[in-house]
Amino acid sequence: MIAIPPPFDLLPTLWRGVGVTVQLTLFGSALAFGVALIIGFGRLSRFRLIRLLATVYMELFRGTTLLVQLFWAYFVLPHFGVEFTEMQIGVLVLGLNYGAYGSEIVRGSILAVPNTQIEAGIALNMSPWQIMRRIILPQALLMMLPPFGNLLIELLKGTALVSMITLADLTFQGTLMRVSTLRSLEIFSLVLIIYFLLAYPLTLALRLFERKMAEGRS
């Protein structure tokens, strides 16, 4: 076997963490999207109680901060007899937390569809459900995409926090190797570069999409 020259000899170990980071991002954002839709619609509900519950959820999960929630799930939940794997905790907390932020996007986009569109639907005698499904949602979903893209990038960056509950993601592999090799400069330079390579293509794709959308409108 050929020895890989430094600093690239560190890559195979770090690579194992990348898999965990990508998994967390995918599952976490899927859960976050679902939560965002439920809470976002909940905050627009006709029923006061549902609106209240959704708002409390949003404020609670945005206010108590991601890392505290991770610690709470990791250290406190077992006392209630609830046992999750670190991976499950990571996905769950990321999804619930970023879903709370996403609910604002859902709510904002739906409210951003002009009232006159609803009136046009009424004038064509559509049912409230038809107006939501055929007129408001298609327009709102398109508006949601760019901010959800930004949230996805934030979530990808947020996955680094799971290293604090010993889930072996990219950052965790970095801290492990720092202890064993003390080559901090090489390790964390590589870690940052890998995160950049994961996140930046998303940023570029998002900008391309936004430009396309702006063209489509004019």
């Binding site: 206010g63 250290f75 680094a160 604090m164 901090s184 995160y195 940023t203």
Partner: protein, 221 residues
Amino acid sequence: MLWNWDYALSILPSLLEALQVTIYATIMGFAFALIFGLLLAFGRRSKIRVLSLISGAFVEFIRSTPLLAQLFFIFYALPQLPYVGISLSPLTAGILGLGIHYSTYLSEVYRAGIDAVPRGQWEAAIALNFSKGRTWLNIILPQAIPPIVPVLGNYLIGMFKDTPMLSAVTVVELLLTARIIGTHSFRFIEPFTMVGILFLVLSYISSLGVQWLEYRLNSRT
């Protein structure tokens, strides 16, 4: 019962003391971000191409990588940098990390604020023969900054909520204090729940403050 009130009360003073560290780090980090963010915004607008390219690349890179990994870099990797390597105390490293990370977001906010000042204001400044510095100081920034104050406020709250990450580089702030207390007493429910509540209450009150600011700004125009 799982929750022990006596225990909760007994650890409250330690938590409140640690909260001071958290708040100190937030204020210092945000002050740094306010200044450095403005410099980055100027850098990106600069006519010197190298400067604007470097500022732009810096902003893109920092925004695309996690704060936590940046903190590790500053605390552990920076001392190993040849010639310029320096060791920082945990708190200094934490403040620097928060400040640099948020300065890249604030630079975008400044940029939006500056772009929103009408072209005619620049032209009027030229017509009145203001110097470049005077134009910025007396004409542009006084118009660019007030509208973005609520956005800056939201980033301040965001930074406050990111401070628990400083515990990763051994800053004894709120979360690490709670964790130490928990480890000693084998009770995690009270300390972590109380930390969560402290963050919730403080950030909620601050966000009401920002909303009030926004309302004031909107009603002024």
